[in-house]
């Protein structure tokens, strides 16, 4: 089985400061991986580098996605290739209706893949079904994208986009934070529907709770820009009980040697 995502010896810096270093991660098709780590450890940085955000400089290493060199692709090309990032802080876009935007995004991706536009009727049918599934009310679809949405509404809306765009790799950056317990369950159900042998997920979270619903195949502990330990789903429970203290780099170890 070829890996869907393969990150090798990655070093990333922002404004000249090394954030990720010697970072390795391989995600196979059909797998769900969780990345956990303290604040500032570099989780969102990983997500942004995958999605191609400007200002995140890859100073070393490679990322292959479905056999392609991901780092040569523009953000929109990554989306067309099947990558989706549910952001920790979705951006508010005033003046652009949520529903309209979603249709533009779908059609842009279809166009990039040489597929015809989705018909208005098909789009609406699918949108209604998926919106109901993740608990996005119709009026939220008509409102401007994320503008004035509550924290939870933004997160649900990210998952709605995820379900509509059906990517091969979904990266969820703290989709659970800001969600009440019922919303968490709804969102997790939505995500689980997308699980399939040809898709993979990278779930970034602080809490074991989400992983009760989206059960991961692998859990990675990211501390200070490096994966310090990887294991099965039990690792998340261990973290919940003991925190990250055990994973802090020892003072003797030069943590940013490669910078």
């Amino acid at each position: 089985m070829t890996a869907l995502l393969e990150i090798r010896d990655l070093a990333v810096s922002v404004d000249g400061k090394t954030i990720l270093d010697e970072f390795e991660l391989v995600v196979g098709a059909g797998e769900v991986h969780a990345v956990m780590g303290p604040n500032g450890s570099g989780k969102s940085t990983l997500a942004y580098v995958l999605a191609g955000r400007e200002g995140y400089q890859v100073t070393r290493g490679t990322i292959r996605f479905l056999g392609r060199d991901l780092l040569t692709l523009e953000p929109e090309e990554r989306a067309a290739a099947g990558l989706f990032l549910a952001m920790q802080y979705p951006v508010e876009i005033p003046g652009v209706a949520n529903m309209y935007f979603l249709r533009q995004a779908m059609n842009a991706i279809r166009k990039a893949r040489g597929e015809p536009d989705i018909s208005a009727a098909d789009f609406m049918k699918r949108l209604r079904a998926q919106a109901e599934l993740v608990g996005v009310p119709p009026e939220l679809l008509k409102r401007d994208l994320n503008a004035g949405f509550s924290g939870g509404e933004k997160k649900r809306n990210e998952i709605l986009q995820l379900l509509m765009l059906e990517p091969r790799l979904a990266v969820l950056d703290e989709t659970d934070s800001g969600l009440d317990i019922d919303a968490l369950r709804t969102v997790a159900e939505g995500v689980n529907r997308l699980r399939s042998p040809e898709r993979a997920m990278l779930v970034i979270t602080h809490y074991q709770r989400l992983l009760d619903y989206i059960v991961p195949d692998r859990v990675h502990v990211l501390v200070d820009g490096r994966i310090r330990r990887s294991g099965g789903k039990e690792l998340a429970l261990e973290l919940e009980a003991e925190g990250y203290a055990a994973f802090q780099p020892k003072p003797a170890e030069p943590a940013t040697a490669a910078a």
Partner: protein, 442 residues
């Protein structure tokens, strides 16, 4: 000679006056008024950039050139109907190249107390009333004086106390490809009596490569508790120039809500004076200007609060691209009597090109002590985080940019009361954005 003396008109304009003077409509006091206006125009001349209000707009090349009065031209009706707005029941006056087309007017069967007429006929039939109205704007301004001297068309709209027009009234001003060097002097008079209500749509369109000059003067009066909603689009080809000066006086409890979208014209200059003379009145002035290429847009607003407990808000946005130049000067004047005034102004701009220029000048002048006033102007670029968000969803960079720009302007466009006008504005704006056609109709 006074130092601020403006530019001497070219001889062709003097000749134009001499040859056309006798044929302009209006009896009684009107010819004398025209003569006086032209004399005033000769005295004052065209404004130069030395005048504060014209500091950033060199209007001389646009106005001081050989111009002619408009010949009649009736374009195919399809070219006209494309610009209809206000819904199927809307009333309408259509002006092509500065002439009213009476055969295409739709102002029959108006409710009682509502008068909608072309100024040309009225000048002949009721010259005294029109002369009184024309004399209302007596400040010595070159372009206004020129307008008074030549004015032969425009809309005369009068609503008696308590009268209301439930359907919108559209004034469609169109210039065609044959209108090169044509001088359209349009004069509009809008008078709303006590508690009268009107929804006015002004559609300015310049077609083709002609280089006409529309010199418009509008005088608006809102009686006590009167309500005027005004939607205005300016969709003009690059060589055309549209200069308008409007003066609006609002009595107690009156309410003005005006939204302007400038989506073209090589030169668009809009000077709005609003004077609030009675308590509890409101003036909302919304606008978006979107110059690109070498277009020049100049908005000059002056809101005068002369009565207590009134509210005004200037909400203007700019999208400034290419090698264009945008000017916004918004002033709030609060007189001593105008206690408890709430007056706001904002002008936020997206500057999209290194070669474009924006001059934004907010100004407050306050003589009352118990007021809430604020103003602010910003000039910024597109938010990179927003751009990334859209691109990460698959939208190509150019499209993502256009969508963000559209969203920026939409905050103003959505304030238009008439849906058809809003759609026209959106469509015209999208057509000016890279990849905008793909964006379709949001």
């Amino acid at each position: 000679m006074p130092t601020a003396r403006a530019v001497e008109p070219v001889p062709e304009l003097l000749e134009l006056w001499a040859t056309s003077r006798a044929y302009l409509p209006g009896k009684g006091p009107v010819p004398g008024l025209r003569d006086a206006a032209f004399a005033a125009f000769r005295e004052v001349g065209f404004p130069t950039t030395r005048a504060e209000a014209w500091k950033y707009t060199n209007v001389v090349p646009w106005v001081n050139r050989p111009l002619r009065l408009p010949p009649r031209d009736v374009p195919g009706t399809d070219r006209i109907t494309a610009w209809f707005a206000g819904g199927v029941k809307a009333r309408r006056l259509i002006f092509v190249n500065g002439h009213l087309l009476p055969e295409l007017a739709h102002v029959g069967g108006l409710p009682g107390g509502v008068t909608v007429r072309g100024l040309g006929r009225l000048l002949q039939e009721e010259p005294d009333r029109v002369a009184d109205a024309l004399a209302e704007l007596d400040e010595p301004r070159g372009l206004t004086a020129l307008n008074t001297a030549f004015a032969s068309a425009g809309a005369w709209i009068e609503l008696q106390d308590g009268a209301a027009l439930d359907e919108p009234l559209q004034l469609l001003f169109l210039t065609t490809a044959t209108a090169d060097s044509v001088l359209c002097n349009l004069r509009n008079v809008v008078r709303l009596g006590r508690a009268a209500r009107l929804h006015l749509i002004e559609t300015h369109v310049a077609l083709g490569d002609a280089k006409p000059l529309s010199n418009v003067v509008s005088q608006v009066r809102l009686g006590e508790g009167a309500e005027l909603r005004q939607d205005r689009v300016e969709i003009g080809a690059a060589p055309a120039a549209l200069i308008e000066r409007s003066r609006t006086v609002i009595a107690a409890g009156g309410r003005l809500c005006r939204t302007v979208a400038t989506l073209g014209y090589g030169l668009s200059r809009h000077e709005q004076g609003v004077r609030i003379v009675g308590a509890g009145a409101e003036a909302l002035l919304n606008g978006v200007f979107t110059p690109t290429g070498k277009e020049h847009v100049d908005t000059q607003i002056r809101v005068e609060h002369a009565a207590p407990s009134c509210h005004s808000n200037q909400f203007y946005k700019g999208v400034v691209d290419g090698r264009s130049h945008a000017v916004f000067a918004g002033k709030i004047l609060v007189e001593r009597a105008a206690q408890k005034t709430d007056a706001y102004q904002s002008n936020n701009n997206l500057l999209l090109s290194d070669e474009a220029e924006i001059d934004s000048k907010p100004e407050l002048e306050i003589y009352a002590d118990d007021v809430k006033c604020s103003h602010g102007a910003t000039i910024g670029e597109l938010d990179p985080a927003a751009l990334f968000y859209l691109r990460s969803r698959g939208l190509p960079a150019a499209l993502a940019r256009s969508l963000l720009i559209f969203g920026w302007a939409e905050e103003v466009l959505e304030r238009m009361a008439d849906e058809a006008t809003r759609l026209q504005a959106r469509r015209a704006f999208l057509a000016r954005l890279p990849g905008g056609a793909v964006l379709g109709e949001p």
